[in-house]
């Protein structure tokens, strides 16, 4: 073993901790962890000389004691991912779910003080590592789309639940909007609520997620283009299906551009362009559902 930088109490604290972290977080377990370059760079012990660092107890070897931490590191994070993403767990089954989650955790180990950010980059990781990521979009298989979209939906649900909302704030009323003439409607600059999330999915993953959360065991759905809004009302997460036109209009709201400019902007992708009276009806509906912060 190599104890070059010995200090008062043995190995310098940072090196010892770097070693222990490399050992207990290694996906291959303690043996592979001790032998890994990340561990050996800090403390060059092998399975035999390990007990010059971690002493045995009456019942356990040093390696077995480290293994308690190694098992619990992986079990805790997997359990957390499972609780946060129950629909993905149902879709993949335990074996595949653990494989995907462990691969993600290995590439993006937790860095935050809270577990609430644990899967922040999971969608991105899944998209980047899908087996056909190098293929042309037209040649790709579609089931990875389902998986990626499902995780995006589940993660958004959690973020909307615990993120910024509009509770306790004075909000635009449907009656107030209905009283506006169409000219004023077109000049308005609707701002989306901070809790509003908009999705264009290839699969109806929102319905699948809800079914799993209700305790059902739904089959993987057939592809079906779906537009979904997630928002929060009185601390409850609410999901609504939208039409393609509604999705495009809502997507264009930024609180800065007048509605008529937003309509011009989407005119090319959404035809026929919705009538101003229709938009006024939508605004009333959206205001009552908590989609909008201001109109």
């Amino acid at each position: 073993m190599n104890l070059d930088d010995e200090s008062v109490g043995g190995i310098e604290l940072g090196r010892l901790q770097g070693w222990m972290q490399a050992v207990i977080t290694h996906p291959g377990g303690v043996g592979a962890g001790v032998a890994s370059p990340a561990a050996r760079r800090r403390v060059a012990v092998d399975a035999k000389s390990l007990e010059t660092i971690v002493i045995p107890s009456e019942t356990l070897t040093g390696a077995e004691r480290l293994a308690i931490y190694s098992r619990s590191y992986h079990a805790r994070l997997l359990q957390c991912m499972r609780e946060m993403l129950p629909a993905l767990y149902h879709a993949l089954g335990e074996g595949l779910f653990n494989l995907f989650a462990l691969d993600y955790l290995q590439h993006h180990p937790p860095r935050s003080y809270t577990l609430d950010n644990l899967a922040d980059r999971f969608v991105q990781h899944l998209a980047e590592t899908r087996p056909d990521s190098n293929a042309l979009p037209s040649e790709r298989e579609s089931w990875p789309d389902f998986i990626v979209e499902l995780v995006a939906m589940e993660w958004a649900f959690l973020k909307v639940y615990d993120g910024d909302g509009l509770e306790g704030r004075a909000l635009p009323s449907a009656a107030g909007i209905r009283a506006l003439d169409l000219e004023r409607i077109l000049e308005s600059r609707p701002a989306p609520a901070p809790c509003l999330r908009l999705f264009a999915f290839r699969y109806p993953v929102h319905a699948y997620m809800l079914a799993v959360r209700r305790g059902e065991r739904p089959p993987i759905p057939a592809p079906s283009e779906t537009f979904v809004a997630a928002t929060r009302s009185d601390f409850r997460v609410m999901l609504y299906e939208l039409s393609a036109q509604q999705y495009a209009v809502l997507k264009a709201f930024d609180g800065q551009h007048a509605l008529k400019d937003a309509l011009d902007q989407i005119g090319s992708v959404s035809s026929p362009r919705p009538h101003a009276a229709t938009i006024r009806d939508w605004l009333c509906d959206w205001a009552s559902k908590g989609f909008l912060e201001t109109v």
Binding site: R76, E83, M238
Partner: protein, 313 residues
């Protein structure tokens, strides 16, 4: 030195998301609540809203799991700033964390990892506790963790380390008698010596909890009633106090709120009645927790309650 004027709050339980609605609707006559700080500091939704309402009606204490006092990484002042804001916002009676490290090189393992018990680590921890106390503008309360390994470089016992830490950093102590019990088996020391050697004038709070015996070692699973041996240690510790804030930790397989509340009130019953410690139904049950050890503090309350399922039209 007294307990920093931190009062005896009585018998409390952890505030967990599974009980949010029960607590709001029923206003149970529990003395106080402890929260896992990390489950609330970033919340801008239902958990934070519930906490604000609970803090209007009950004393609340903040118990953290990510301060990583023993890590060689720099302190995370962004985290400490949020902690300080929340403590002010809810009028937290005190703020506690563990004698441990949770990660290094920017990572967080979300586990309470053991530090080597030697002079180097002691100096390091004392320095950091002092810095944290200055920043939070309040004494920090440090808990003894349960641990599963020890280092060849250890030169002192955990209680010696805690004595020195409390004295040199001038901090409070949270005595987890379940952790003393768990570690005493895992390391083969005498838990009575541990308890008797502590500076009890600095013990601000006591934790009791359930654990799981795995044959070769014990794990603090927080998943059931408090075991008899732990109650014995609790009673021993209480001889040094004329009443100390007592909290039951129960994080996994969480029962209905009244069961949880009744469990912590057992402490009150037998302390006043001078009876034998209550029997738990199964002493040291062997359970699935041995291989997983997954249900520790940081997970508690991290997820939305099932009563808040989303709806869609």
């Amino acid at each position: 030195m007294s307990r920093f004027n931190y009062p005896n709050l009585g018998f409390g339980v952890g505030l967990r998301h599974q009980h949010f609605n029960y607590v709001l609707d029923n206003r149970p006559r529990v003395d106080w609540f402890e929260i896992i700080s990390e489950n609330f500091i970033d919340s801008r939704g239902w958990p934070r809203h519930v906490l604000a309402r609970v803090a209007e009606q009950y004393p609340v204490v903040m118990h953290g799991v990510s301060m990583s006092v023993g890590s060689a990484d720099p302190l995370d002042f962004g985290y400490l700033t949020r902690l300080k804001h929340l403590a002010r916002e809810i009028g937290a009676r005190w703020v506690s964390d563990h004698l441990c490290w949770t990660g290094i090189l920017g990572r967080n393992t979300h586990d309470l990892l053991p530090i080597p018990l030697n002079e180097e680590a002691l100096k390091h921890v004392v320095r950091r506790v002092r810095t944290i106390q200055d920043f939070l503008e309040r004494p920090l309360v440090m808990e003894n963790p349960s641990s599963y390994l020890s280092f060849a470089s250890d030169t002192m016992r955990e209680w010696e380390f805690l004595n020195a830490l409390a004295e040199e950093a001038d901090c409070g102590l949270l005595l987890d008698v379940n952790n003393v019990y768990v570690s005493s088996v895992n390391h083969g020391f005498d838990p009575l010596e541990y308890i008797e050697s502590l500076p009890h004038e600095r013990v601000v709070q006591i934790h009791v909890a359930g654990h799981t015996h795995c044959g070769t070692h014990i794990v603090d699973t927080h998943d059931g009633p408090v075991m008899r041996g732990v109650w014995e240690l609790y009673r021993l510790a209480c001889r040094h106090h004329d009443g100390v804030s007592t909290l039951l930790e129960w994080d996994s397989s969480l029962p209905e709120f009244p069961v949880l509340h009744a469990e912590v009130l057992k402490a009150k019953d037998y302390l006043t009645a001078d009876s034998s410690p209550p029997e738990s139904e199964s002493l040291e049950h062997v359970a699935a927790g041995c291989s997983a050890r997954a249900s520790r503090h940081a997970l508690a309350g991290a997820h939305p309650p099932h009563s808040s399922l989303p709806e869609y039209v």
